[in-house]
């Protein structure tokens, strides 16, 4: 049952994508619905199974590793899959209004969307490094056309830049994988640790450096983030949401898998993790400062993504300390709550852009009367981004600070504090711009505001409320997520 569910998670959206390109409306509707609607149901089955039986492998076609390609499902993968289902699902509902399936724009949009969903699901489940390469490429080749879909100059330029860097990143990753295969004779993430321990150190360093470099580039980790803000800011709203909430996280997810599951816990590896955390700190501070300098709402949110990704790397140097379980809880919870909040912000920003015809901060004034619910979504999600209670972001930040304290890594504490103050500054800058009222005589501020379909508003609000609710329902999820990577990193 679970095996079928796992395969369904990958293949239903894939088949759906095939259906949407068939002629006729019926095929399009059928493709979208059959590709997306069953995902939560399948996930319930997978979640129950993982909660009951623990992590598990699925050998595709009955071929055992190392020859065969395996799927691996554990709580982390389940978490990511749920994020794809929920965030992707709500973003899809939002997209339904802008890209009606029967319209020409919809005909271009939905096959790409379904393929992207399928590719992300496949990535979170794959245990094979080369298979992961294919997934990464699929994600790149579906996400970028989605960015370019509006056809505007900004969008095409951002897409082009993203594409060139993404292809470079893929090649670096592929080169790393090639060297790794030569050094270890396996591509399976979970069979690699012993082989890596035995391999010549120089080869290991080169491989891991190449793979990590490729992933850092794809994950837009400072200082390799240059492509992200414009790409995310010029994409259509639901695409921005999914890019920021999910797509960049796929690279971070793989970094976790490689470094925490596959690399032997040596002193050198620990130093590498510290280096990654330093990049994360740089992201948090640099992204935060740049978010503060932007004049457009979507760019503020996009730079905020650059910053928030930093949190996810900051936990890495604690991998060998006693504080690791807490750090891991904080990292994964940040993964979740940032996803929800960031998607809510991008959808709300898309609504605002639609309604006002501009998303310049200076044009946002009196937003509380012109787009009250979008502003509400923006504000509530902003609270989570700032890490203030009550929100998922707050609980994540609490756990991260707690872990930094317990591990005695004071610099992490300082970075976390500085990062959250910067986040507060850029979120409140948006809110202040929205409450401003330069011309008190202006009679009817609502007059020049276009109406937004209620469904679109609802999607943004719902995501924001989920980010808020994450501030109250952490305990069961954290229990489910467990202590993270298997034993090797945690020393007594």
């Amino acid at each position: 049952m679970t095996n079928e569910a796992l395969i369904g998670l990958i293949f239903l959206p894939l088949l759906g994508a095939c259906a949407t390109v068939l002629p006729g409306r019926f095929a399009t509707y059928l493709g979208i619905l059959s590709g997306l609607a069953p995902l939560p149901l399948l996930l319930v089955a997978v979640t129950l199974s993982v909660a009951q039986n623990g992590p598990g492998f699925l050998e595709l076609g009955g071929w055992a590793a190392p020859l065969g390609i395996r799927l691996f499902v554990d709580p982390l993968a389940v978490l990511m899959l749920w994020m794809v289902a929920i965030i992707g699902g709500l973003a899809a509902i939002h997209a339904w209004c802008d890209f009606p399936p029967a319209s020409p724009s919809g005909q271009r949009f939905w096959p790409l969307w379904l393929l992207l969903t399928s590719a992300m699901n496949a990535l979170f489940l794959s245990a094979d490094l080369f298979n992961l390469y294919v997934c990464l490429e699929l994600i790149t080749l579906t996400a970028i056309p989605l960015i370019a879909l509006t056809g505007s100059k900004t969008a095409v330029r951002a897409a082009m830049r993203y594409l060139l860097l993404a292809l470079l990143a893929s090649l670096l990753y592929l080169l790393g994988v090639a060297l790794l295969y030569n050094a270890t004779g396996t591509l399976d993430l979970y069979l690699m640790r012993d082989a890596l321990a035995a391999a010549p150190p120089a080869a290991v360093v080169a491989t891991l450096a190449l793979i990590s470099l490729g992933l850092l580039l794809k994950g837009a980790v400072f200082p390799l983030h240059v492509w992200l803000p414009k790409a995310h800011a010029s994409a259509p709203g639901p695409v921005s949401a999914v890019l920021s909430a999910l797509v960049v996280k796929t690279a971070i997810y793989l970094l976790y898998r490689v470094w925490l599951w596959s690399v032997p816990a040596t002193v050198a590896a620990e130093q590498a993790l510290t280096l990654l955390a330093i990049l994360g700190a740089g992201a948090l501070l640099y992204g935060g400062v740049l978010a503060l300098l932007q004049q457009r709402l979507k760019l503020v949110i996009a730079y905020s993504t650059v910053a928030q990704l930093g949190y996810l790397l900051l936990i890495l140097p604690m991998a060998s300390s006693g504080a690791w379980p807490v750090a891991w809880q904080g990292g994964t919870y940040q993964l979740l709550s940032h996803g929800l909040a960031k998607a809510a912000m991008f959808l709300a920003a898309a609504n605002i852009l639609h309604a006002l015809g501009s998303d310049r901060l200076s044009d946002l004034q009196r937003l509380d009367q012109r787009q009250p619910l979008s502003l509400f979504a923006l504000a509530v999600a902003g609270v989570s981004i700032m890490g203030l209670p009550p929100s998922g972001g707050f609980l994540a930040k609490w756990l991260l600070l707690d872990a930094a304290f317990r591990s005695g890594q004071w610099w992490l504490l300082a970075v976390l504090v500085a990062g959250s103050l910067l986040a507060a500054a850029y979120v409140f800058r948006i809110l202040a711009a929205s409450l401003r009222r330069d011309d008190p005589t202006e009679a009817d501020p609502v007059a020049d505001t276009k109406a937004i379909p209620n469904v679109q508003t609802a999607c943004a609000v719902l995501l924001a409320l989920l980010a808020l609710a994450a501030g109250f329902a952490a305990a069961p999820m954290i229990e489910f997520i467990g202590p993270g990577a298997p034993g090797a990193w945690s020393r007594p």
Partner: protein, 109 residues
């Protein structure tokens, strides 16, 4: 490892290096695309060489990887060309202008 393998390895490294150099040096998108393909070629050559098996039959896994990789490279290139065409239509340019940053905050819809 036999001498011919060494030649292949060197060639792979050189091809990859030329590609990387060109990618970083060139402003023309088309050239950059070609360079990316060159780099890919270098990696494929490396994979095939490493999987060559000095004694005994060659390892099939790298072969499969290269086949898949070629398919991906072709489709990525095709998409990139289509995007480039669109970019050319929009702005009559085949470069991503260096002044792109100047209008980072503008909104052109």
């Amino acid at each position: 490892m036999n001498p011919s393998a060494l030649i292949y390895l060197l060639t792979a490294a050189i091809v990859f290096g030329i590609g990387l150099h060109g990618l970083l040096q060139s402003r023309q998108i088309l050239r950059q695309l070609l360079c990316i393909n060159l780099m890919g070629g270098g990696i494929f050559l490396l994979l095939i060489t490493l999987g060559g098996g000095a004694d005994g039959p060659p390892d099939p896994v790298p072969q499969a990887m290269v086949l898949t990789g070629i398919v991906i490279a072709v489709s990525a290139t095709a998409f990139a060309l289509a995007l480039l065409l669109r970019w050319h239509e929009l702005g009559d340019s085949t470069e991503l202008d260096a002044v792109a940053n100047a209008d980072a905050n503008t909104h052109d819809e």
